[in-house]
Symmetry: C2
Subunit: 370 residues, 2 copies
């Protein structure tokens, strides 16, 4: 399967009567066929944010108007800090103010925050209406569009309120990545890199050979990276839709990463930045537990840094770091469960002694440099 | 199947991997076997209200303490007016404040409001934790414990935010009905009566023969009424879990009823009272559309009144009444869909001319008497 063939492709997510397709390609937003065959309704609602709306809202509206008599919009502020009950309520209020019924189709036009929040609104509005993901960031194209996880944050923790809820369709237009700031592109690459160590050693090799092309937004390279990431995630999610077991491997780097995000306050670090650094820490823990050779840590540090991502956590005491990981959703009875690598392309869930975890934190945080 | 045999029985709700059992009997709350075999967890959370908690909370806590190291409680104010985001947040805050993980089991101890809200909290807390229904009102035992509908209200409409989410188990202790005010018993009988016209003509006959026994809280009569109602609802829900078609017949009387509830402000009328009156109005509409003979309306009016329920809607202009029905979740594109009776034991979904609907409203509202 050559990267060049990967432009304009479809990844099918097989989940029985909740199956859907991810369309990947450049220019899909403006193609009429992208919007055909969706559930019919009197109303559609596009949810976007102040950054994305000026770029793409009018074009999506133009595509949807032939299909829906009423096309409503909600434009939220941009950022993880707004992934909260207040924004969710803005969506619900708009729907109710326009008497949107329970066939109304919601469209998430933006990154992961917009997708998570719109998906959650769709999951709970009148106990569930259809929704379509139109991810405009690399992160959301490779990650949050697959798997049906929707959520909002709570002051006491990230993604604490949410639902498993599948979209009708995902339209991942690679052309929208042209307007993505470089920092956000790097953040997206964190989730792309993740799929190598947890599931596909050959993909890790491919990433090392193509990182420069990805950073230069080479469209064929991006298309292959998005497709391969979606395929791997679809394979994992297809076996474990509700995150009872295997699916947890998708959280490689996320346990450390969430602690960084929560500790710094949502929005200070991008999610992908925290995951990038978290992968380095989880790789080190894998090495310290004797699962992987030290060369693996060096390889991950190099690739994460190459992608433009931080490899050092912010200055935060190990005790605080650990406390934040203990309230993570994956913790059970206070024991932190880590996703670790036991061989290239194979992940495992394990607990770890807290003093070893503290060593990892000290080795990869700016505290050490102080 | 004689009513006398019906004490201490189990109705199995078959929904594949979301199947569960409804245990019906007197004294189940204090039986250890009621609480065995539930999902294990570090924490349990009992949600109840200020009316029910003084009666039963300590007894449920005593039963749960051997199973869960941490048994938390949230006591909400009593009433439909508190089935809102604020109360839901009180549940979530309590869970997060005690680092309750995603295995935590929630217990809903109370009526339909507590059940709906606890179920919705369970559906969205960390994207879903298990919950158990312990319904202490007739209404919740026959209705809201079956079918997986959970929700909270919004200022612009009832049950506007919610999810379909199944409990692990339902413990319907008939002894808890001894403390139920007569007005609430009557409200519960509205949902019991409903099952006759929509699904079981023989049950309608049985109700007419046993209404006095039900009002006197004869335990065998109650046991049969609860079991038969759960069986019928289970049969309907089993065929249509997500309310795409058939399940809508369970809303007989609810379209008119919700308009009464919303128009009067939540809590002024009990849900069952609004449904009782709503069934009379829907029966009249069935007659006016030529589906049923006039004798059916008379029969329903007599049975609803006999159960101690109102048969006249409050003074509200037909235009306002209809406007409220148009924002009902069951409305599609502004057209109101009514559940009507086309023969005894058989319901049908239909629209109706608005002038005919207005006639029905005028014929059964206190406006006419003014």
């Amino acid at each position: 399967m050559s990267p060049v063939d990967a432009a304009n492709t479809v990844v099918d997510i097989d989940l029985g009567d909740r199956s859907y397709a991810i369309h990947i390609g450049a220019g899909l937003l403006d193609q009429a066929s992208s919007w055909q065959g969706l559930p019919r309704a009197r109303s559609a609602l596009i949810v976007s944010n102040e950054t994305v709306a000026p770029l793409y809202l009018a074009r999506l509206q133009a595509q949807l108007q032939p299909h829906y008599p009423q096309v409503l919009t909600v434009i939220l502020k941009d950022g993880e800090a707004y992934k909260d009950w207040h924004s969710l309520n803005a969506i619900v209020d708009q729907l109710l103010a326009h008497a949107a019924d329970r066939k109304t189709v919601l469209f998430a036009l933006g990154g992961g925050v917009i997708g998570d929040m719109t998906g959650f609104a769709a999951a709970i509005y009148m106990r569930g209406v259809p929704f379509v993901q139109v991810p405009t960031t690399l992160l959301s194209q490779v990650d949050s569009s697959v798997g049906g996880k929707t959520a909002i944050n709570h002051p006491l923790g990230k993604n604490m309120l949410g639902a498993f809820y599948q979209p009708e369709r995902v339209i991942a237009d690679l052309a929208t990545l042209d307007t993505l700031p470089q920092r956000e592109l790097s953040a997206g690459l964190a989730e792309v890199i993740k799929y190598g160590p947890i599931a596909d050693a050959a993909f890790l090799d491919w990433l090392e050979s193509n990182m420069d092309a990805l950073l230069a937004r080479d469209r064929a390279a991006l298309a292959y990276a998005v497709r391969r990431s979606c395929e791997i995630k679809a394979w994992v999610v297809g076996q474990d839709e509700r995150e009872q077991g295997l699916r947890a491997i998708l959280n490689f780097g996320h346990t450390f990463g969430h602690a960084i995000e929560t500790g710094m306050g949502y929005g200070a670090w991008l999610h992908g930045e925290a995951v990038g650094c978290g992968m380095v820490m989880a790789s080190d823990l894998s090495v310290r537990l004797g699962l992987m050779p030290a060369s693996f840590l060096a390889r991950m540090q190099r690739l994460v840094a190459w992608a433009g991502l931080p490899t050092q956590a912010p200055a935060m005491a190990p005790e605080r770091f650990i406390e934040l990981m203990q309230v993570d959703k994956k913790a059970e009875g206070g024991e932190i469960r880590f996703v670790l690598i036991e061989s290239l392309g194979k992940a495992v869930m394990r607990g770890a002694a807290l003093d070893l975890v503290a060593d990892v934190i000290r080795a990869h945080s700016l505290l050490a440099a102080a």
